[in-house]
């Protein structure tokens, strides 16, 4: 288990942050990660993040929900325990549709939440190390991985932060799982 040495700067505004990310790209500095209290429009393409595949998983979960609901109801009401409701046929498809719809939504939503948690290594009882509490409140953070960086490189990065308008610059050692 090795630790990660992080040098991070805090910004007060997302516009300043976006300009700083542009500046880092122009200076060919590798950004380890960016933390913001809310989704910042335009940040993902600047960081070169690929589009999430979560919605494809959501479609598959939804389809599983549709089939589960429809096939199980069909089996229950025609084979397992046929009951006549209001003089309707055993296999009354219109009556199945609301439940089919609901299970589609349920499977898709629960499946996507669970997938999201697993992919991000989150879940009940897991605490992730936090760089700075204020990045969940009002600060925007750019973080560099400075493990093994020379004094000159560190100075360069600190200079980058002061040039791009960071309000605060800190270092922190994060435990890596």
């Amino acid at each position: 288990m090795t630790n990660k040495e992080i040098l991070y700067g805090l910004y007060n505004d997302e516009e300043i942050l976006l300009r700083a990310v542009d500046a880092a790209k122009a200076a060919h500095i590798d950004i380890w990660d960016v933390f913001t209290p809310f989704p910042v429009h335009g940040l993902d393409p600047k960081l070169g993040l690929a589009e999430s595949r979560l919605h494809i998983a959501g479609f598959v979960y939804g389809l599983i929900g549709t089939l589960t609901a429809f096939l199980s109801m069909s089996w229950i009401f025609t084979r397992d325990w046929p009951i006549i409701f209001g003089g309707k046929p055993y296999w009354s498809v219109p009556a199945f549709i609301p439940i089919t719809f609901e299970l589609t939504v349920l499977f898709a939503s629960i499946g996507m939440v669970v997938s999201f948690y697993i992919v991000n290594g989150q879940g009940p009882g897991i605490t992730n190390p936090v760089l700075d509490d204020r990045i969940t409140d009002d600060k925007f953070c750019i973080a560099f991985d400075v493990a093994g960086a020379s004094e000159e490189q560190l100075d360069g990065l600190k200079k980058f932060f002061s040039n791009t308008g960071a309000s605060e610059v800190n270092t922190k050692v994060l435990p890596v799982r």
Binding site: H41, G42, D44, H55, F59, G86, G87, P94, P98
Partner: protein
Amino acid sequence: MDNFKFESRHKSVLLGGIVLGVVCLLLTYFTDDALHTRFWTNYLHNASFLTGVSLMSMFTLSAFLVAQAGWYTYFKRVWEAMSQFMIVGLVLMIPVVLGVYFGWHHLYHWADASEVAKDEILQHKSSFINPMWYTIASVGVVFLWWFLANRFRALSIKQDNNPSINNGEHRKQITIAAAFLPIAGFTSALVIWQWIMSIDAHWYSTLFAWYAAVSWFVTALCITVLLLIFLKGRGYYPKINTSHLHDLGKYVFAFSVFWTYLWFDQFMLIWYANVGEETVYFQTRRDEFPLLFFGNLIINFLLPFFILMRNDTKRKVGSMAFVCIVLIFGHWLDYFLMIKPGAMHTAHAAMGHGHHGAEHAADHGHGAAEAIGHAAEHGSAMLAGFHYPGLLDLGTFIGFLSLFLFVTLTHLARVPLVAKNDPYAEESVHHHIEPPYSEIF
């Protein structure tokens, strides 16, 4: 380019469309049965459909303004122009209203006093389903809608010359919009009941008004998308980007699903609660109009649902234009199916066959035209203009749609395309919801 220029060649194309529509209407009139059922149903179908589309553009503007939405402000003049068609719709409906009084048509079973006298169900409904309320709905209510839409647009135009931050026009617009929403919400139901639901005079459904109104709404959005694509292609609205298209696409997708929800629930509630006497509406449509009944669901639900489900199809001109063209036609078919079966039945009864039509053969001496109506209702023939739209019906639709676009573009050309001094004008230009942020679409 600040102003849209309504070029003469576009005018000619649309005028050509209008002429085609008039020719088709006339041809329908002279090849029709004795009561001109096909002519009157086509006329009512198209006039009510496009008046509703116009209403829904004003409804959208009001809803967005009250909700403090900012993304649409850049192109709100398109909706303002579309909302001005309502007064034309009012004029178009006047022959139908007069026809109710003078018996020009047999669209409505309840319009015939002698029929009401021997029909208990119609007597129970006659305090609302009567010529006076029909006139109030078609003339009074539509005029009120148009009046509010007209005031709304006038304030928007006036705002162009008022650079004050604290501008009063915006506040007045919010007042009109906040008043318009409940007014339109309740009165649109009234108008739909009178215009369309009362064709099947014995039948009623509380969901029907929503169902019909959502058809209007989806069509209004689709016409907007196509108009924006057209305007963008002509070099207007340079700052409309894929995010605007994406959001309109989301509305088309969402309200197609909402339409399906109402389409299904209207049937579901009647079926599940064993309301036997109301199932006749669906039985007629399922058994005698199966192609349209199930085709309706495929065109208006499955198609937009699977095409527009993905992100990127909502952001591309090709897929959006395709879905929108299909949906405009699809919801027109939906209205076709709402109007034709009931009107056909009413006309058939009025021609003297009553409900024992099967006993009366076509050689009863009522003439060939009536025999056609007779055969059609008893399912022995698929009849163009009733069981499926024929060329004349499509031509009529093209005519009315051309008129709608002609009125819209005329109003659009009169004022600057982009509203100035609107508090949301700047926000609207910077509408970005998702990468890639391309300015073009």
